[in-house]
Amino acid sequence: MAFSSGFFSPGTWRLSLRMLGRDWRAGELRVLLIAVVIAVACVTSVGFFTDRIQQALNHQGGELLGADLRVVAGHPLPARVRDIAVNYGLRSAETRSFRSMVQAGDSEDALGQSRLAEIKAVSLGYPLRGALKVAPTRFVKGHVTQDLPKPGEVWVGPQLLQQLESNVGDSLQLGYLLLRITAVLTYEPDRSGDMFSIAPRLLINLDDLPASGLIQEGSQVHYRYLVAGEPGAIAGYRQALTPHLQRGENIEGAEDARPEVRFAMQRAQQFLGLAAVVAVMLACVAIAMAARRYAQRHLDTCAMLRCFGASQRRINHIFLLQLLALSLIAGPLGIVGGFLAQEGLVMLLGQLVIAELPAPSWTPVWVGLLVAMGGVLGFALPPVLQLRDVPALRVLRRVAVQSAITRRLQPATILAYCIGFIMLVLLVIYQAGDVVLGGILLSGLLLASVLLWTAATVLTWGLKYFLQYFLTHFSQSKSSAWHLGLANLTRNRRASTLQVMAFGVGLMVLLLLTIVRGDLLQGWAKGMPEDAPNRFVINIQTQQVAEIRNFFAQKGMADVELFPMVRGRLTAINGASVSEQRYEDTRARGLAAREFNLSWADRLQVGNTIVQGYWWGDGSRTTNRFPYEFSVEEGIARTLGLALGDQLTYEIAGESFTATVTSLRSVHWDNFRANFFMLTPPGVLEAYPASYITSFFLPAEKNGTLDELVNAFPNLTVIDLTAIMDQVKLIIERVSMAVEFVFLFTLAAGLLVMSAAIQSTLDVRLHENAVLRALGARRRRLWQSLAVEFFSLGALAGLLAAFFASVLGFVIADQVLNMEYLLNPWLWMLGLLGGGVGVGLAGIIGTRQVVNSPPLAVLRKL
């Protein structure tokens, strides 16, 4: 095999790979390789996770619906929905779902615990796609079944079974029905994850539903009509049905199944993805720093190669090949790491979204490889490419040519930098899922980087001058450890600033997600009165109002207020009909489509304040200018663009009802009282069918009262806010942990930046310390100077982190939670000490060879 000089010549490859192998063995490439692995692992872990959800949505769309297509509405579906399906020869099934109380026990005399459950009543044929899984008892893995609960039977989710302290074979009361538990329901294809459901599942036969007496006026029920069949027939059905759809009726196909999951997925991808980008950016900084040192250490080699006749092109090829090989080793390693790490994300978040996730596609693998290539070519290649300019003369005279290679930038180097930059831009856009959003986020990232850089620079600069001033003016000791440590810190100010920034970001996120999050939740909970309502009771029928008032009076809860609710749909504003398309805002679209709960009251409730117009109970009002009036909550007025004097038309029980907006109210929603968007004066809506709602505070020891209430009125639904709050807390915790998890990569990347920075100064440090020790400096003093340097570095990062975490905490408290944010001194203490000690120890460990190497050996080597 002959040698030749081209890129593909075996000689170049052999030389290049030999050098790569030897450099790896000598530890020259470790930081570079780990940085690439971290960048890739971070991106792919998030990538694999979101991809699996995406796969579930894309390829199991049908299964996620339990059908090929389903028609969803908040009211009973009209007959034509079925008729058209029959015409197209489609298979069909129906489900109804709602929330209700269930009570354990065999008979009315021996009823036990009552719990809120999400009930799903299904007809024969359900599910049309996918399959249910059931188990004979709890703690047993479910198996696929084609059966359904027969009339009189019920299948219960394991969680509910535990809450009711029941077993298969026991009975439970649902409304007026007594049902026997015949299986544990472990999996439903069309069930949302925990994030979207507030109570465990219970499955019954649709034929049993009427007898339960649970579907009444005002009940919130989701009606679903499921169809399956040939794609052509499905498309035909969709096309034929669409023009007949009424407001509030929607078609969901496999491709647009589960919008809530899609939304959550998009957010997860954006948020976790951007967290990953931060880690990638830091890893790229580490790559660039490590590559710079790598290039510095290869100056002699290159001079040698040039001296023996290697052309500049050959030098470029040798190093380009090395870096390509490195990225091909690091890329797959990172991808494997990312795949393992995504299991963590699935554990934390996956089950919140979709119960069983399919295997991921290959997309994250390609993205990972591109990140590896981009990171290496964009950030490691530029300094290495400069090696071609090493003058051969260096073999004779070293000093004169030391700086020559760093001055001029070759076109290839500029191109390489461009590759790196483009890789980052594409990555941000990929994670954001949209060019415009990607652009905004990129600008945000750049702005945040500039801000952090400035803050880190000011801090590093400030520390040096503060300590210098302090030592000169106040310190009695002539401690050279401080001077040495600080000199090291400021020797390479750019690297120090970078490290402060890198650790600052990681620590900030940790502080934000632990201390600040805790403070905010605690502050919010504290802001609520102790007797804030913790139970809602809904579905109270008009004829039950007197009896229920009586019940509460007997229990010493006479002050429990019952509020009427009439369901109506907004059909026109000032005579112009309302449709979803009229609004751009998604919230407004939702509000325009769904039914409202209208209520009436003669006086303003606690937490309500009139902000515009007047209240009908107000004494200043003398004449009744409008026959019917509305008091509208200001937030919804803003969303729907309503103003005083607007005439709103509602369709209530098939009739039109029009009233004029005479006041706008601000409502303190988080007091957990029953509040309404739309209120009328008494004597206006009483003629329409209504249900009642109440909220009250129930101390824990009186929990039995509720079992009695449900026992006496089985149609009522009691919602336990404490349980919901616990679930919300759990979700927040899991999401925070997932974000922290991704930011662990950021911290790891930060450590790498530090490691690269230490490496870049290692030779100088070794030399200096060897000279100092030869001159009689004790090891203790050298240790102290290292401690001063790295503790200061970490403390600065901690300070930066605490500052930005406080600012963010304040913004969230002020803008999102509308509460006062009290500065937590622990945040600063923890940032300062945690950062100082953590980074201090890592730094000392990283530089231990500086103190431990015998001075003679070092001096000889250098």
Partner: protein, 249 residues
């Protein structure tokens, strides 16, 4: 072909090197310039052995760098094997070095991550000719055996003594059968006895291969082993008896 045999392997005329002696390198004024070499003429025939001696700072290493094509002079011409190397670009000069020149340095300049054998193979691997890997390996092994280091083929430079490292460097210098060998203080980092051994090897190989040797050294004993000694002082040659004798010959 005959012409090329008769012409000197190295012909230097009016060679000068001046560097800026000013903090601001962009503005070099005549009075700020530091003259390192001034009006050097040199003619070296094939198979000749020439020692360049002189005190520190006399410009020996600069001269070596220039005539080996490692640096560019301020004025003058250098013909190496009939080619004006100043008309070549950096890559062409590198190719010429790879083909015609061997180097031995004071600080050995072995690649620390390559074994002795790999270091010796390196010049052949860098050549753009038809040498195969197996041939390169065989030649390198033969030369290592020639300098008595067969047993140390797979050792890294860090595992070799100074003398052994310099012997590896000599093997490397001769492996590509250069027409011209430049040695810069080859014994500078070695004790007298080891230095002597190394030099013996160098002269032996020089004789065997008929290489032209240009040696820069402080060591007059070593210099006197060369056919011709040129003394450099303040950037200019001053003739010695031995120089005169060789020049007459």
């Amino acid at each position: 072909m005959k012409d090329s045999v008769n012409q000197p392997i190295l012909l230097v005329e009016g060679l000068g090197k001046t560097v800026a002696n000013h903090a601001n390198h962009k503005q070099v004024l005549a009075e700020d310039a530091l003259v390192i070499l001034h009006d050097i003429d040199l003619c070296i025939q094939r198979g000749d052995s020439v020692a360049i001696v002189g005190p520190s700072g006399s410009g020996k290493s600069t001269l070596l760098g220039l005539i080996a094509g490692l640096d560019v002079p301020t004025c003058g011409t250098i013909h190496l094997d009939g080619k004006n190397i100043l008309q070549l670009n950096e890559d062409e000069r590198a190719a010429l070095r790879g083909e015609k020149i061997g180097f031995v340095f004071q600080s050995f300049q072995l690649l620390p991550s390559f074994t002795a054998l790999e270091n010796v193979m390196l010049p052949l691997e860098l050549q753009e000719n038809n040498t195969t890997y197996a041939q390169a390996r065989q030649q390198a092994e033969e030369l290592l055996a020639r300098v008595g280091l067969s047993e140390r083929e797979h050792h890294y430079p860090g595992q070799l003594s100074g003398g052994e490292q310099q012997r590896v460097a000599i093997a490397r210098a001769f492996v590509s059968k250069p027409s011209l060998l430049f040695a810069d203080e080859p014994t500078g980092n070695l004790d007298t006895h080891t230095g002597q051994q190394v030099i013996d090897f160098m002269f032996e190989l020089n004789r065997e291969q008929g290489t032209t040797l240009v040696l820069v050294t402080h060591d007059h004993v070593l210099a006197n082993r060369c056919a011709r000694v040129l003394e450099l002082q303040d950037g200019q040659f001053c003739s010695t008896a031995k120089t005169a004798k060789v020049e007459q010959g």
